[in-house]
Symmetry: C2
Subunit: 299 residues, 2 copies
Amino acid sequence: MSILVLGTVALDTVKTPCGTRSRILGGSAVHFSMSARLFTTVNLVAIVGKDFPQKHIDFLRQKGLILSSLIRSPGKTFQWSGEYAGDLNSALTLSTELGVLLAFRPSVSHAQRRIKNIFLANIDPDLQKHLLGHMHSPQLVALDSMNYWINNKRASLLSLLKKVNIFVANDQEARQLSGETNLVRAAKSLLRFGPQMVLVKKGEHGVLFCGDEFICSLPGYPVEKVVDPTGAGDTFAGGFMGHLARTGKINSSVLKKALAYGTVAASYNIEGFGLKRTALFTRRDLERRLAEFRKSVVF
Amino acid sequence: MSILVLGTVALDTVKTPCGTRSRILGGSAVHFSMSARLFTTVNLVAIVGKDFPQKHIDFLRQKGLILSSLIRSPGKTFQWSGEYAGDLNSALTLSTELGVLLAFRPSVSHAQRRIKNIFLANIDPDLQKHLLGHMHSPQLVALDSMNYWINNKRASLLSLLKKVNIFVANDQEARQLSGETNLVRAAKSLLRFGPQMVLVKKGEHGVLFCGDEFICSLPGYPVEKVVDPTGAGDTFAGGFMGHLARTGKINSSVLKKALAYGTVAASYNIEGFGLKRTALFTRRDLERRLAEFRKSVVF
């Protein structure tokens, strides 16, 4: 079954110990799509400005994404600029220019409203809510957010959490929103906000998953040369949701495999700037690394 | 095959968000022994002072440890006092009183010199070297250390690393000694100092293992209520070495299972102050949690 993703399409400027890249294609919806496309058809709901290069549109189309709900609007494309240092586990945001995002009202076609699998990637929770209100009968809704919305739109976020199945957060966000320092307790306590499942991303340390009756952890896939972690969490979510959407059912064994797909998808993402690695990787690459990962984890 | 462990026996004073305990039994060799004893006979090489309570000696003997090389000397037992806050991932040392450790020269009986499996728990590297020099034909030697020795006895530590098979370090120590921020590269670079295997402990985030041809990661066992992490790393090492010593051979499958035993052993340790949980846990408890852990990790 296909997936609909709402999120940002961005022009990123990134500085890491490996170098600097200016105005490269990025954004939560784009990174998500790069891995989800390996599993199923991905419908992109996002906005770009008049300055958005046509070559990026061509690229996204060529990767098989459905772009009928990608709005091209007067104004400037969302831009994010950030820097990573040390262990590259967290970004320092240098600047954010919202541009066309300020006037964004996501809209989807009648056909797209029937899509069952929805990923609400990081964007203003009011936009996430708006879109979700238009969907006819969503079956599996996952939500990602960020510290900015936890601080500034907490009420919106909390009311949205009641309506989603899966909440995706990084470790800082999980601690911040729950008020718990222990991550297992943080994840469990987030379940009380509404979602049936909580997925805590821990960067190089992997992931903690918590459902009503099922807790599981996976380590990160060991990557020796981290070039640029931007979008790793969304690439993770794309592999995770992609497997769930394709499988069409949820149980502990499907969930663990989805987490493993997310893990290896993210490991490719961080090996290059922007989409350098994930623009080119194939399902076969993913399966090969999944097999290696399984071999190293299974005891 | 039995194990010989050199390390500290201590009286610990610990403050965590769960409470405070004064002068409870601890030390690197003791925590190691609590889990290693579930696999094989453990010979303890350590020193205590005249103030060391007889009940602790009785306890260690009752747990099956061989105490013939535990010296009781005039002076005070080694004391450590520390505090944990926040996510309990690192201790703030409040005070250290070396006491009898200052004049410690470890010595072992002729029979003990033939023991093949040796764990050099955290203690002055000169003492570790001294003991290792007395062993007849060690087959599997693992070494643990700490930031203090990396800073203050770096040359001793480096010459010792040439003589051991396994170097056990936490993530900070691995980064500090190697000068690499990426943990995979840090571990690989530590291999160049001599050992064939490097084991990086990451607290709640699990463990990274790196051999010449084999890298593997395991997540931590999810623990909801961390009471006191003191000794978790040594308890890990005890489970890990215990399985290797009992199995008597090393390959990737034995190593992964040893890492899993270490992980679940450490998960018990942190659930109570000092030895509260590990004094009582059995091989059966360990196997039960290992089965749960396997179920949650294997995809």
